[in-house]
């Protein structure tokens, strides 16, 4: 029987790694991801999880060892954050380019300098084009459920792509929440074994990672892109099956009180729960506001986002990352680009806030809606607003 327990999100992810019977974990310590891999190391040390735990000397080697273990046919997991994600950056492209279904949890954190161990989305925003499937989770339960689903999606023979689960560093990774951990047998029945058809096997030699000349490189990249785009069907299917089996429903884009809303907030990650409280407060005052939350970041859910925002007049998008010298926050830039050719679309205000672990409270979300509505009303929309900055 599945049980509902109070558990830290990081530990719950580690417990889920056990439930899906991961074979190899290669990881390097970095705050705020460490609790995940520490607990996995514990599970291995206690014999609760039969896996090889490779305590590598860097994140670059963590992801490189993951390439090797995945190519060797082992179900592979790692976790990182911030500088660690940046250090493994070049390896991320190889994981997707070589179609290796590695699953990685990223406890999102700011990137130096100045050094900050606290959360925002700066780290992962440099990884948008790495070819990984990427989701942003809102709470501990979702982190667990996405971890279960991620292996099925990534390892599906028609997908074979790496999968990144983004969870907010500290704000989510270190929070103890009531979480339903499914029963081992339930998970075993739901998650098929990983049988990698192309694994490195002396009895059936394959060559992996040949270089490509200009005559074939474009075709190789296009094949990757088609696989990533087509993974959406598998993602939908796995989430549907998850709903039927476990009763919790997930979709690419979530909406909250968006019917009849004139102004919509758009968020990603755990701050969305605070935003919902802000929406409730504003609704009580009679304001027609709602919330859109993006769960699936790659492949980008164009149609879902359009469906969610096409009726509203004002769209206010919160980014927890700064695109230095760029046109707006990263999420706002992409949503703007996605809507550009639509004849009916809302006015969009990009707000950057919550950097380096700075909290965003209910009152802040209400302020953001005020700022956004005012800018649109006065026809004074800047490329982006930086929220709450001093000096």
């Amino acid at each position: 029987m599945s049980k509902r327990i109070g558990i830290e999100t990081s530990l719950a992810i580690a417990e889920t790694v056990k439930l899906v019977n991961v074979d190899v974990v290669a990881a390097y310590p970095i705050t705020p991801q460490t609790h995940i891999v520490e607990h996995i190391a514990d599970l291995c040390a206690n014999g609760e999880l039969d896996a090889e735990y490779i305590p590598v000397e860097s994140e670059h080697s963590a992801m490189s060892a993951c390439l090797g273990s995945s190519a060797g046919g082992a179900r592979t997991f790692t976790a990182t954050a911030s500088q660690g994600l940046e250090l493994m950056h070049e390896v991320l492209y190889v994981a997707s380019g070589m179609r290796l279904p590695i699953v990685m949890a990223v406890a999102n954190r700011a990137v130096s300098a100045p050094l900050s161990i606290w959360g925002d989305h700066s780290d992962v925003m440099s990884c948008r084009d790495t070819g990984w499937i990427q989701v942003f989770v809102e709470n501990g339960q979702e982190a667990v459920d996405m971890t279960i689903c991620s292996f099925i999606i990534a390892e599906d023979p028609s997908v074979l792509l790496p999968f990144m689960i983004n969870l907010d560093g500290f704000h989510l990774s270190h929070v103890i929440e009531p979480i339903i951990l499914p029963d081992q047998d339930e998970v075993k029945a739901f998650v098929p074994d990983f049988n990698y058809k192309y694994r490195l096997d002396p009895h059936n030699p394959v060559a992996m990672g040949d270089f490509a000349t200009p005559a074939i490189f474009t075709e190789a990249k296009w094949a990757n892109e088609v696989a990533l785009t087509n993974s959406r069907a598998v993602i939908n299917d796995v989430w549907d099956r998850f709903y039927k089996t476990f009763g919790r429903k997930y979709q690419a884009v979530e909406t909250y009180k968006t019917e009849d809303a004139e102004t919509l907030l758009m968020t990603m990650g755990s701050f969305s729960e605070t935003a919902m409280t802000a929406i409730d407060a504003m609704r009580e005052q009679g304001r027609k506001v709602g919330l859109v939350r993006i769960r699936l970041w790659r492949p980008f859910p164009f149609d879902d986002i359009y469906e969610a925002v096409k009726e509203c007049k004002n769209l206010i998008i919160l980014d927890r990352a700064l695109s230095a010298g760029g046109p707006a926050g990263p999420v706002a830039s992409e949503v703007k680009a996605a809507l550009y050719n639509k004849s009916v679309k809302p006015a969009i205000v990009s707000i950057v806030g919550g950097l380096g672990g700075r909290d965003i409270h209910v009152s802040d979300f209400i302020n953001m809606v005020d700022i956004g509505e005012k800018a649109i009303k006065n026809n004074d929309i800047k490329p982006f607003e930086i929220y709450g900055v001093r000096g």
Partner: protein, 314 residues
């Protein structure tokens, strides 16, 4: 190779895990070393290749010269990738998902991939004790990108990023002693080899593969293109490197040093340097100074053999 059957059929396998179809330069000593090494691989071997000459000459979608399972990912991470493969084999075998049998994981890299950019990943993999063999094919510079100096480039050699000139002797630093760094990891087997001594090379590969734990082989690989030599000199220059003391052949088993070929009298260094364009700017005084240090290092190596022999006798 019409005399092959007369001389070598009983001592060397005719198997060629590295097929003759590849794109190495004429006279390449490195691909010869790789071919010989491959002949000594067991058929249950998985090859991990770092980016570099040996990777690009053997691969190009959709062709590959390897008859063994082969993987290339990046420049600096071959040892880490190998450690992941070894771990996968271990756990899948334990969980009865693959047949229980010995599978060797061998990582290959050039000197740049090994002693410069990849030394961290290599050090990590060896420290963790993975059962892998790492082979460094040392041609003493970044040849694939156009003869740039590495930390394995010998003192005085002119390269494109350590050019000799009015104010430059060429490479201004002494070659990094990578085998010693590997020995310092307390791994069970470290050896040097050279394709001019093919049987020694192949025996060492076999020994490395049968070692339980990490093993390292550093292979001297003559590069006619980068060393500015004639293309028929790879074997001769390899021999001269050993006979002049530039590249001694030795192995270190569990910390015990043993020289495989002891020169009672080292040949003059100029025999080795003269045919090479990369050294042609060096004058006699400079060559003498280099020779003196080579001799002193040779003596130090012999001493190490004597000193560590005590450990074996214990």
């Amino acid at each position: 190779m019409e005399d092959y059957n007369i001389f070598a059929s009983r001592v060397v396998t005719k198997n060629e895990p590295l097929a003759p179809g590849h794109r190495a330069c004429i006279g390449c000593g490195e691909v010869l070393a790789m071919r010989l090494a491959a002949k000594a691989f067991n058929k249950n071997t998985i090859v991990v290749n770092a980016t570099g000459c040996m990777e690009i000459i053997a691969s190009q979608v959709p062709y590959n010269s390897w008859r063994l399972p082969w993987i290339h990912t990046l420049f600096e991470n071959a040892a880490a990738v190998a450690s992941g493969i070894e771990s996968a084999i271990k756990v899948l075998s334990r969980k009865n998902r693959i047949p229980e049998e010995e599978i060797h994981v061998v990582a290959l890299g050039g000197d740049g991939a090994t002693v410069d950019i990849g030394i961290q990943a290599l050090s990590g993999a060896f420290e963790r004790g993975h059962n892998i063999t790492y082979i460094c094919f040392d041609n003493e510079a970044y040849m694939n990108t156009g003869i740039q100096r590495s930390s394995a480039t010998p003192f005085g050699a002119s390269t494109t990023t350590s050019p000799a000139g009015k104010k430059s002797i060429g490479q201004s630093t002494w070659k990094k002693d990578t085998p010693s760094i590997m020995v310092a990891h307390n791994i069970p087997y470290v050896a040097t080899a050279c394709p001019s001594y093919p049987f020694d090379l192949m025996e060492k590969i076999e020994k490395a593969l049968s070692t339980n734990g990490p093993s390292y082989i550093h292979i001297f690989s003559v590069c006619p293109t980068g060393w500015r030599t004639k293309s028929d000199l790879a074997i001769r220059l390899g021999r001269l490197a050993v006979e002049t003391g530039v590249f001694p052949l030795y192995e270190v088993e569990n910390g015990v040093y043993k020289m495989n070929k002891i020169e009672t009298e080292l040949k003059p260094l100029s025999l080795y340097t003269k045919p090479q364009g990369r050294f042609k700017h060096l004058n006699d005084d400079q060559l003498s100074a280099i020779e003196a240090r080579i001799h002193s290092e040779y003596e130090a190596l012999k001493e190490k053999c004597e000193l560590t022999q005590v450990r074996e006798d214990m």
